[in-house]
Every structure is written in C-alpha cells, then in structure tokens.
Symmetry: C2
Subunit: 340 residues, 2 copies
C-alpha cells in the first residue's frame, strides 16, 4: 500500500477558463481511520462542470473551495482499511472524497456499491449524481410527460444522455443539442433520440430548432444556458417547463454577457423556469437509484465513459470539459480497478 496520499489542490482562482497553473499537486500524510471510519483508495474520480463553480467566489449553493485547498469531487473507491463493522476491506464505495488517491472518512459519508449490478464507475455516472440529476430534473422539475417534445443541451454528456433516454422511455419526442457530428450521431443512433443538432456547425439555430421540433418545445432540460438557451426559449410552447441544471456557458464568463430579456416569453407562454440541484431531492434518491438500476440492467439506458488515466492528468481533462473534448462521462482512473 502507498504510504503517501497524492492530492491536487487549487492554488489560484481561475479568471475565465481554468488553466494548468491554477492547480498544483501536493502530498498529504495518510490518516489512520478512527472509530467508525475507513481508509478509501480512489479508483475513479468524476470530473463535472459544477466544479468550476466551486473554484469561484461567486455566491452559490455551497461554499467556495479555498486557495490551497484540495479540489472537491465524487469518487469511486475501494475500502483499504476499515474501522467500522459496516464496511469490509475490499468493499467498493462512492463518496464526495475529492481529487486525491486516498481518503480517510466516516463510513456514513459513503454509499456502498454492489459491483455485480453494474460497473463500479457508474456510481459516479448513470447510477450516481449525474443519473439522479437527470431523473429528478426531467420528471420532477420539468414534469415531462408522454407526447412532450423534450430538448436537452449537452446531450451527449453524463447528464444529458440520461435525460434523453429517460424521456424516450416516457414516450417523449427527444431532441439533443451537442457540439460534434460524432456526438449527434451517437445520440440519434445508439441512444435513439429523435433528432440532434450540432450547434457548432448549424448556421441558424432557430431554423434548426424549428425543423427538429415541428410542434414546438414543451420541456427544455438545460445544461448550458447562454445563446442556445435563448434560442430554445423562443420556440417554447404554452405551459412549457425549463429545468436549469447547469449553465456551462457562464461558468467561465469573466463579464456578464448581455442576453435578451426572457421575461416576455415566460409570461406570454406561461412558462415555468426552475433551477434545481440534485441534493434538493435527497429524500427520494433511493427511488431514483432503483428506477435507474432497472433501466441500466435492462439495457434501456446505455452509458459511455471517457476515461483519462492518472490523477496528475485531472486538471487537463477538467479543462477539456468546457469545450466538450470529452465524449461520454469524464472519469479519471486514479488507481487500479480490480473489477475490470
């Protein structure tokens, strides 16, 4: 067993897009687990756009990461040392353990994973926070129902791909917006979305949306915000619902770019626009895990991973999230996965 814990810390607040010099590798001693604690060896670190928000001092729903602090993040790992009856050495767990190779943590901060149900990496993907976000955002916040036309942005991403597939299972018409032809082919092919739009090559997004959504749009599951969201707003039907899950177009903005006023659209069409985060539904996570687990094991929901190897490569991979360099759920394999 390693005797040093490797970490990656934030050493400067990014101005605009994060850059390599905003991060620094560090070592920390490994702590012996106290009563009720375990030592976890990180196998997969999840990289997600929300982390950019943590790097900023702007007001948000959780406090910002401090300068010099370890970067936060969800992890799938293996119990290396246990000082609790509930978890044994070799058990697989998921928790919010950060960008590091090892973590000493209370057992009740971890979720135990059954590696026979699905690959353990899905515990930070389709069977983890991104999957739950898709589930509650689409079905609760956006109240999607059969017959709705659902548009999802960042449609090939960890959340978007699950949103679209759940919407198909609920008999919606599903249109995905993504940033490459390869991603559009994936969502309309393997994931069976009804239509896809490559926003980077479309001359006129309004025209493309009209063609893809001949009956207008009833649900917008938004991961990006910005001009794409504005174009979708113009095509919403009366009583449409917009679930704001992320605003990736804004995370790196250094100035607040002006936008059209959207109030008139919201009023005239009696739209409901609602922001949410997955923790708002904490009391119902078990329900979502059960539904998603069933769909994944049936093959009704597919998932794709983009795995980068080595904790030291996490900053570069994270930076790539903001121009869509990843194709599938972005993971860093920090340590060996004994199940593969």
């Amino acid at each position: 067993m390693a005797t040093q814990n490797q970490q990656i810390c934030m050493v400067a607040r990014p101005q605009g897009l994060p850059k390599l010099t905003d991060f620094k590798a560090a070592t920390a001693p490994m702590t012996v687990p106290g009563e009720g604690e375990v030592l976890v060896r990180t196998i997969y670190l999840s990289l997600d756009p929300y982390m950019r928000g943590r790097m900023s001092e702007a007001k948000s729903y959780v406090s910002a990461t401090g300068i010099g602090d370890m970067m936060p993040g969800g992890v799938v790992g293996e119990v290396a040392v246990s000082n609790t009856a509930g978890l044994a050495v070799g058990d697989f767990v998921e928790g919010y353990l950060g960008w590091q190779t090892h973590a000493t943590v209370k057992a009740d901060h971890l979720r135990k994973i059954d590696p026979t149900l699905a690959p353990i990496s899905t515990a930070v993907g389709v069977l983890g926070m991104p999957g739950l976000t898709a589930y509650f955002g689409l079905l609760e916040v956006a109240s999607a129902k059969a017959g709705d036309t659902v548009v999802v942005t960042a449609a090939a991403g960890a959340v978007g791909a699950v949103v679209g597939q759940i919407a198909k299972l609920k008999d919606c018409r599903v249109v995905g917006i993504a940033g490459s032809d390869e991603k559009v082919d994936y969502i309309t092919g393997e994931l069976r979305f009804d239509a896809g739009i490559n926003y980077k090559t479309t001359d006129d997004l309004d025209v493309a949306l009209r063609a893809a959504c001949p009956d207008g749009i009833d649900v917008h599951f938004d991961n990006v915000g910005g001009p794409i969201a504005d174009a979708i707003m113009r095509r919403l039907n009366p009583f449409a619902r917009v679930a704001i899950c992320g605003v990736i177009s804004q995370y790196n903005a250094t100035a607040d770019e002006p936008a059209p006023h959207i109030y008139r659209h919201i009023l005239v069409n009696r739209v409901r626009v609602q922001g949410f985060i997955v923790f708002d539904f904490a009391a119902r996570h078990a329900e979502a895990y059960a539904a998603l687990g069933q769909w994944v094991s049936n093959g009704d929901i597919k998932h794709k991973e983009h795995i980068v190897v080595g904790l030291e490569n996490a900053p570069q991979a994270f930076m790539g999230l903001f121009d869509g360099q990843n194709f599938g759920k972005l993971l860093v394999r920090v340590g060996d996965d004994p199940t593969r």
Copy 2:
C-alpha cells in the same frame, strides 16, 4: 337612449409608446339584441397595460387586434335592453366588451354584479380581473406563505396594491416598488406595506433593496420586468418564486434591450420563475371572488380609483399608464353611474 354606438378603434400599430394618432373614434349602429342577448350601456371602461400587447403583432396568448378594429377591454355596464330571462333592464354586468358606449352581447358572456356589495366599478378592479390576478399570482403561482418577504413592482397599481395587501393578510413582509413618493407614501401608509422604494429617485436600487429586504426576497410578484426585475433577481433567496404577471417595461420596447443572463441566479438559488395569466385559473375564479369580496367588505383590502371622464379621453389616459400617470385603478367613465 342614444341611437349611435360610439367606439374607439386602433388605426395604426404603435411603434414604441402608443400615440393619439394610433386611435380613431368611430360610430357603429346599435344592434337589437337577439334571443339570449342583451344591449349593455357602458358605464366604466377599464384601461390596463395588457392592452398594449393586443396592439402588437408579436405572438401572445390571444390574437392581436386588427388594424381598424375596436380596442378590446373590460367594461362595467347596465343592461339597457334584455332579450333573456337571466338579466333584467337595470341590472349591472361586467364583460369584455371593448372601448365603446354600447354592446350587444350574449348574456352568458357577462357576469352579473351585485351593486349592494361594493361599488360597481370594482368589478373591473379589486373584485375583477386585477384582483383575481393578484390572488392567484401571489398565492398559487408564487406560493407566498407567512414569513416570506414579498416584493411587488407597480405596487400602487390595480394589481400590485391587491398583491401587497393579500400578502400582508398572509403575514408576509411586503415591499412595494413604485414611481413616485406619493405612491410610496400611499402603499406604506394607507395600505400598510412594510417598506416602499421609489425607483425613479433611488440612486442604487441594489442598495435600496438590501435595506428594504434585510432577509432577502422569497417572492417577487413582477408587473414590470426589465432592470428592476434584474436587481430583484440578484437579491432572491434560495427557493424563491417569481410570478411574472406583466412586463410593462417591455411592452413599448422597439428593440430587445440586452439584459443580464439570469439563468445562473435561477440555478444557484433554485428559483422558480413562472409566467401566468388569470384565465389559467378560470375554474377557480369563484373561490377568489369570495375571498376578495370578504376582504373588501371587511375593509382588509382597500382600493383607489383614477377615473377619467369620457370615452374620447381613453387613448390619452391609456398612454399615461406607461409612465405611471395614473394613481389607482385607471377607469374611464363612459356613461353615468346611477349608483353614485
């Protein structure tokens, strides 16, 4: 009885603020009521900001008024000729009869008014569409509850004044935004709002809002949109609700002025922003009439009217709505009110 029906028609679509030459007086023959119909003599015509939307061809929830068509509007009148068992000559009624002195209309398009309960003019005010709009917007769309800080814009207007008073009855902290010191004195004095802001004389609306809303804002009942709404957005609490009732700042806009992106605020604070119109709650109007009628007769809800005399003065009075020249519910007395 007059033998000519006087009307006011729209003869040009306004560019920006409506002007007198967009309107023209006209006469039309008075139609003898057919079976099930009555002839109504207009007493009060209600002037409301939504009418500006009808003058535009922009997509909205009802079709636009055509060039040369009579201006639409709510009316309180008296039955002059009846050809139905349900209404007698001399009965008072309210209906969507337009800018004219007389209307021949099916009885089932009218609501009969009891003149002993409240002044008949209230049937297009606190006990009419504006009152219902306040009731459903505040209690249903915005889900206001005891302890909430509620901000309402156009706070001395027909809708805003009722919103604030209902919110006080529900034990909210109420802050009104209005466009003159006289209006602010009125809402904080006679209407017992907790605080008021004159947006025309405030140097820094952000600072004024912070002072007036020390615990942040839980509900924004918005009648105006634009930069005032943007400032309120920056002060919203987690899980705040914004009910968009009107966007008076936008109705006369000739170009879409740029606004800050609001998506990030909506996401981070998990805000619910929802547009509505009162007809969405048609099935529950009786409930609202009962509640409002009780409050008005108790003296719990006060109302103020701004009455202009003569149908020919309706265009000028209507134009004044957009810079807040009226103080109280704006009405045109088109014909004698036998109850006053």
